[in-house]
Symmetry: C2
DNA sequence: ATCTCGCGCTAATGCGTATTAGTTGGGGAC
DNA sequence: GTCCCCAACTAATACGCATTAGCGCGAGAT
């Protein structure tokens, strides 16, 4: 159209202006006009093949992104991810095509399309992590991970600090015998909660990993005045069980949930619980991923949690 | 590694077995073993550059996909889209990088990465539609569109039939004077509702496009016994206004909403309303898009609506 | 008039794959 | 022994762009 070479168009298109690249102003204008007129847009695929960059961020989940059940739980992460991606001019590639294997790498994995990938989910496959590192594919896990030999880049919630702070609050309210009800592992998020709990000093702390239906009895046996539960859903059940048993919450026993409702179980807003900064985590994950793509090192970032007050933590 | 050429690897990788393509079984096995051992995966970018296919479906929205407000409205569409995409082995590319322009085509649009694109949103830019057709990019609109000169491929709700069915129900309940409260345009979904309404026969039908605060008075003046409202939120307000006015719903006036709650306004499950098969629409959109990618023609598919019973439509 | 210099541009190449025409070597037919 | 044919593979090319070395030409210097 303009009579110039493909190379010139490329130079104009990318607005290249070095000392070794010179385009006469009138030529540049002519090309720009033609681009405007035709609405030409460089093929992003070919462009990626050369430059190695896309501004496409992958999002890999080990569960459906838009599920019926866990929607409420994952949604805030995605809101943060989308907001930040939009600000940075990045598109999001949702990897859904792994129904059978739930593995990142499979016969025709499209991982390579994205410049980097955000991992979302309660569990993350250990082999996948190793493979990602091996391939040199940039990634960030939402939720702390430590199961890949080395440190895994991640954005997590600072459970140890949050649980420690809650312990202090409980102590200030007069609680001296406090229980941790939950597995304490193997998921990092559970282990971190328990770690923060056991690191707390002063009070009598007891970890009760047994099945939840034994908890009411155990609470009486151990003469606990407050209990911290890994899961919100368990807290709902426990409060019901305690009250059915004639014990008052928080009059006799205070109950604190160390997690957000998962969306699968019941929700009770009156229960005092940890609030995970999920949107902020999504946001930060995008930031950290783009840094990793630019060549940044491994970063593990822990964000502070806040507390949903509720009404199940009271003075003794 | 195996001493064979790149071409051979490609042939084995793609499991090509024609009469003009012959690979000795042992060679094939040797290559497969090497692929297994190294975990080699063909670069999807280069692959796309050649074949023109990705199995990546774009999702373009004129509003954030994961918004705070409209989350509840869009979510069902996305659930359907994701489910079907997963079944078909496709990944989803969410175009978020258009904050300022809200246009599909911009300086470095990544539209071209996807094999085709689903358009989601109340409004769709007319120029964008024309451009999509011009570029030969496969696409499907969720929601009926007619503003691109020619027919636009879409999956929509069959509002005319649904509204007509509701009119019949109202007539069977004894209503003879029924009002349509809403703009009746310019959005196709609104126009379709009004069209279905006006096509209904038998009863005294009146279209009242005036501002909503004049509706209660107009209902009395026109001696209407039932009203159909474009928007659920308006129905909520109207019911409140009528009751504050001493009129009973549905005793004196029946109220029917012709749409789902948008997520932005109030929600009232007691209001009788049309139920849009949103998940099904998402599902069908993916199906239709993949057909369009395979070269199918323009299809406009309208899905039947059902009714959320509620309690605001009664006998006269 | 010849030489030099540098501006403005283009030819050529590579990215990693799919595809197709073409090449090689060995075995069977005569 | 010669010819032919076919199985089994490979060389070469295209995809559309970014990049870089280098070419041609006109103006200023000598």
């Amino acid at each position: 159209m303009t009579g110039v070479s493909q190379a010139t168009v490329s130079l104009v298109l990318n607005n290249r202006t070095g000392d070794d690249v010179r385009i006469a102003p009138e030529t540049r204008q002519r090309v720009l006009d033609a681009i405007r007129a035709t609405g030409y847009v460089a093929d992003p695929v070919a462009r990626r093949l050369v430059s190695g960059r896309n501004r496409i961020l992958g999002v890999f989940t080990y569960e459906p992104v838009f599920p019926a059940t866990a929607a409420d739980f994952y949604h805030p992460f995605l809101v943060g991810i989308e907001q930040r991606a939009e600000q940075l001019g990045c598109d999001l590639l949702l990897f859904t095509s792994h129904a059978e294997s739930r593995r990142i790498f499979h016969a025709d994995s499209r991982i390579g399309i994205a410049d980097g990938t955000i991992l979302l989910g309660r569990r993350v496959d250990r082999d996948d992590l190793g493979r990602l590192v091996g391939e040199g594919h940039a990634f960030v896990s939402v939720g702390r991970r430590d199961d890949a030999g080395g440190p895994v880049p991640c954005v997590g919630a600072d459970y140890p600090a949050a649980v420690a702070a809650l312990l202090e609050r409980a102590a200030a309210l007069g609680h001296t015998r406090i229980g941790y009800l939950g597995t304490g592992g193997p998921a990092e998020s559970h282990a971190d909660r328990l770690r923060g709990f056991l690191a707390g000093g002063g009070a009598h702390l007891v970890h009760l990993p047994q099945p939840s239906r034994q908890w009411p009895a155990a609470i009486g046996r151990e003469r606990l005045t407050a209990v911290f539960l890994e899961e919100h859903a368990d807290a709902v059940d426990l409060v019901a069980a305690l009250r059915a048993d004639g014990r008052e919450v928080p009059g006799d026993v205070s109950v604190v949930a160390l997690g957000e409702p998962s969306g699968a179980g019941p929700v009770d807003e009156t229960i005092t619980r940890l609030r995970i900064p999920r949107r902020e985590m999504g946001w930060q994950a995008v930031d950290q991923l783009t840094e990793a793509i630019e060549g940044g090192g491994v970063v593990q970032r822990l964000l502070p949690c806040t507390v949903h007050e509720g009404a199940t933590l009271g003075a003794i």
